[in-house]
């Protein structure tokens, strides 16, 4: 085993571990009973129970599909993302660690990762005629949150959305290009024709304002 390098790796992992642990523990709005039901369902998925996978699907599909649509801006692509996410749930449920965060956060993280991967792959194609980027700030119409399927309480979901909408437009655009299009700071700067420093400042200022709005 490669001992000399441990110290560095271990401490990075430790820092990242702390970061991950904190990432959704404080996110508001998940009802406690929904979390318990989620965990039980995931445990049954891990045992290979198709009913349980259906349960997880029914519970979370609206937010998963909503996020996939928001990123892909295309129904068929978004459906592909959904398929991949639930395949991953089925394959990896045995390794899902309930102490590391909510099932909802796990699903949404997978959804974002899969969707951004697809976008990036598409962008890498030489013949991609239209960059999907220009639609960054165009919102998909916002249907009411279905009472029987809510995961995030209507109140806190609304609060997050309101906080994002309330940001100064340049900050919001920079944040959306990063999060929903998976662009790096350099790509964002290129897209907006702004200096790197400006992009960095906008993203930071925007996230700090969101933080304030969410944890007053």
């Amino acid at each position: 085993m490669d001992l000399p390098d441990f110290g560095r790796h271990a401490s990075t992992t430790m820092i990242l571990g702390m970061l991950i642990d904190s990432s959704d523990a404080r996110w508001p709005g998940l009802a406690a009973e929904a979390r318990v039901a989620d965990r039980e369902a995931i445990q049954r998925v891990a045992e290979g129970d198709p009913d349980a996978l259906a349960l997880v699907y029914d519970q979370h599909i609206r937010s998963v599909f909503g996020l996939a649509m928001r990123i892909m801006q295309d129904q068929s692509d978004a459906e592909d993302v959904v398929q991949e996410v639930f395949s991953q749930v089925w394959a990896q449920a045995t390794r899902y660690d309930v102490t590391r965060g909510s099932v909802a956060a796990w699903l949404l993280t997978m959804t974002r990762t899969r969707a951004i991967d697809k976008l990036r792959a598409e962008r890498a194609k030489p013949d991609s005629a239209s960059l999907p980027g220009e639609q960054a700030v165009v919102d998909v119409p916002d249907p009411a949150v279905g009472a029987e399927h809510h995961v995030l309480t209507a109140e806190s979901a609304t609060r997050v959305r309101a906080a994002l909408t309330a940001l100064p437009v340049p900050q919001r655009i920079a944040i959306e290009l990063a999060y929903f299009e998976g662009l790096t700071q350099t790509q964002i700067a290129g897209r907006l024709e702004e200096p790197l420093g400006t992009v960095k400042t906008r993203i930071r200022a925007g996230l700090l304002k969101l933080r304030e709005a969410l944890h007053p």
């Binding site: 110290g7 702390m18 045992e47 009913d51 609206r62 944040i175 700071q185």
Partner: protein, 295 residues
């Protein structure tokens, strides 16, 4: 923020939290995180905010056809919608893709981690999907399996690293305890070493007890070129005896616990020289620090 090391990373926490760094930029910033508590705190506070952006996407209902397609492709069954209450009803499919859905009569379930794992079942269902015409799903087969294997490896590594973290913490605690026991012991004696002209700001202290355990603490050691190492010596009248090699931290400090040979009677003169990596049996380099017993 006065630390000059932080300045180039000012504001980078936000980019890191939202995932707007390239892989190379991320690696550089993660190295900075190890030395900058301010940045660690900022990332910690911004990460949940960045994750929360997922909730700003408006929830949407897909077509019911998607539900059937997804669940059937994955599990080989289409359970009734759970909104209508949980039913144990499933529609078992024939073929290798079908999992054991026959739970109502006490049928067995795949034990987690035993027998063919989820990965196998997924692979099996993918093969069947591909054989049955496939479509996009069959085409995605290879990449998906590679992905999953990658994830499996990652999880194993992560588990290992977590264990290492714990081991490292325990080792560090044990070492602290040992140092404390020696330094605060009733029989503790000490010798001070003074930086020589090559290391004017360096200083060191050796503390030992009569159980022949010695703690050696140094600070202000200048950084050495690669290939050189600090070596500590007991300078006995006939010949110097190597005591330890020192690996200073970035800030020039070093701590080492030395098991003093009991043929050696303390105090003796002690010295630190710079030697080729790995150390040498007898000193050859310049003396950087020197300490001599009083009287």
């Amino acid at each position: 923020m006065s630390d000059p090391r932080h300045e180039p990373f000012d504001g980078t926490s936000a980019l890191y939290a939202i995932g707007a760094l390239t892989a190379a930029e991320r690696v550089t910033f993660e190295a900075h995180l190890e030395v900058c508590l301010d940045c660690v705190r900022e990332v910690r506070s911004l990460l949940p905010v960045a994750h929360g952006l997922a909730h700003t996407a408006p929830p949407l209902d897909p077509t019911p056809a998607l539900r059937a397609r997804v669940l059937e492709q994955i599990t080989g069954a289409i359970p009734a919608p759970s909104a209508a209450g949980h039913t144990g009803k499933t529609t078992p499919k024939t073929g290798a893709a079908a999992r054991d859905t026959d739970r109502d009569d006490g049928g067995h379930t795949e034990p987690a981690g035993g027998g063919p794992g989820a990965l196998f079942w997924l692979a099996a269902s993918l093969v069947v999907a591909a054989a049955g015409g496939g479509g996009w799903y069959g085409a995605a087969l290879d990449r998906r399996i590679v992905d999953l294997q990658g994830n499996v490896t990652q999880a194993t590594e992560e588990t290992l690293r977590l264990r290492l973290d714990a081991a490292e913490a325990r080792a560090a605690a044990a070492e602290r305890d040992a140092v404390l026991a020696i330094v605060t012991g009733a029989s503790a004696q000490q010798l001070t070493l003074v930086g020589q002209p090559l290391a004017p700001r360096a200083s060191a202290r050796a503390v030992w007890n009569d159980a022949t355990d010695m703690v050696f603490l140094a600070s202000g050691l200048p950084p050495l070129p690669a290939g050189d190492v600090y070596q500590l010596w007991f300078v006995l009248p006939n010949a110097p005896v190597s005591a330890a090699l020192l690996n200073p931290n970035d800030d020039g400090s070093a701590t080492v616990i030395i098991d003093v040979p009991d043929t050696l009677s303390l105090p003796t003169t002690m010295a630190i020289t710079v030697e080729p990596a790995g150390g040498v049996p007898a000193p050859t380099g310049d003396v950087y620090l020197l300490g001599q017993p009083a009287g």
